[in-house]
Subunit: 179 residues, 2 copies
């Protein structure tokens, strides 16, 4: 197969999850497969006709995505030729990324909102543009952001279990991010 991005430790002095994410879903057709799956596509031949991908590549990507825990593969009960691919929670959790990317394309490439439009099913109004939010929900622009070292955010840490503490802390408040 392939061994893409590694290293990276040098950047901004810390570990960033981006290269890891890219290793898993950064490959050439993954987002298109993901999009099809989010649209309800679940069978090999349907992915094939939905996306303009080659057979062998699709087989390869589906295998990889299943291995990565993004999808599950299950032979159908009623028709044993068929296989059903379904997104896991992990796969579904890529939705914000996908929408952000699509919105970017809408704004900067096509210039036109995609149709049909993604809406809140409660009031049937279009969803907002994906944005970065502060702790208190204010929308943040790039200039409002800064990188702060873990150690500075949790000043009471002793070397021994700092990681645990940070993990616990972040789990509690449900927010994170860094470079």
């Amino acid at each position: 197969m392939e061994k893409i991005r590694e290293d990276l430790s040098s950047l901004a002095g810390g570990e960033c999850s981006l290269p890891v994410s890219l290793e898993v879903i950064g490959e050439r057709w993954c987002f298109m497969i993901l999009r099809a799956a989010l649209n309800g596509v679940g069978h090999f031949e349907d992915f094939l006709s939905e996306i303009g991908i080659a057979r062998n590549i699709l087989a390869n990507r589906l295998t990889r995505m299943v291995e990565a825990g993004i999808m599950t593969r299950r032979p159908c009960d009623h028709d044993k030729r068929k296989v059903e691919y379904r997104l896991t929670d992990k796969g579904q959790d890529l939705l914000p990324t996908m929408i952000a990317l699509r919105q970017w394309g809408e704004r900067w490439e096509t210039g036109v909102p995609s149709n049909p439009i993604l809406c809140d099913s409660r009031d049937r109004k279009p969803i907002r543009k994906i944005s970065m939010r502060a702790h208190d929900d204010r929308v943040l622009e790039m200039d409002d952001l800064c990188w702060i070292d873990e150690a500075e955010l949790k000043p009471d840490s002793d070397g021994a279990n700092r990681d645990d503490m940070v993990v616990r802390h972040l789990r509690e408040i449900g927010e994170s991010t860094a470079a």
Copy 2:
């Protein structure tokens, strides 16, 4: 060069910007270059050592990203050997996508928040997880979303065959989600 994704018109009966976005920044090292640029890297040799990319590939990607309007290329005044690459607004606007992807990796791959941590410079607290928001700012999960045809959202446009369109579309996508 390359001619990746096209087609796509078939999916869910509308045009989606995702393939277009992917054509521009979906290529193998683009997000890593983008991240380095967001971290302040601006010179060829610095990208080279920051990211583990090959010279020729970097040259190629930078050219493409400049062509795509994501970066600008400007020879330095004080040292004419050097070139400065800078993100355009279009490039900077990929930040939410990048953060969403990184947060996904934090949650599902590394399991640990990256260090240093991206914070609001106003109160120095970590930013929130990127999420989808309703019109009124409520956080939306995947099941809260639906796809609505443009024609249905703007009811004045052309009364003639609106119903047909909506009915056909809903039949096509069932009750699914993203595009």
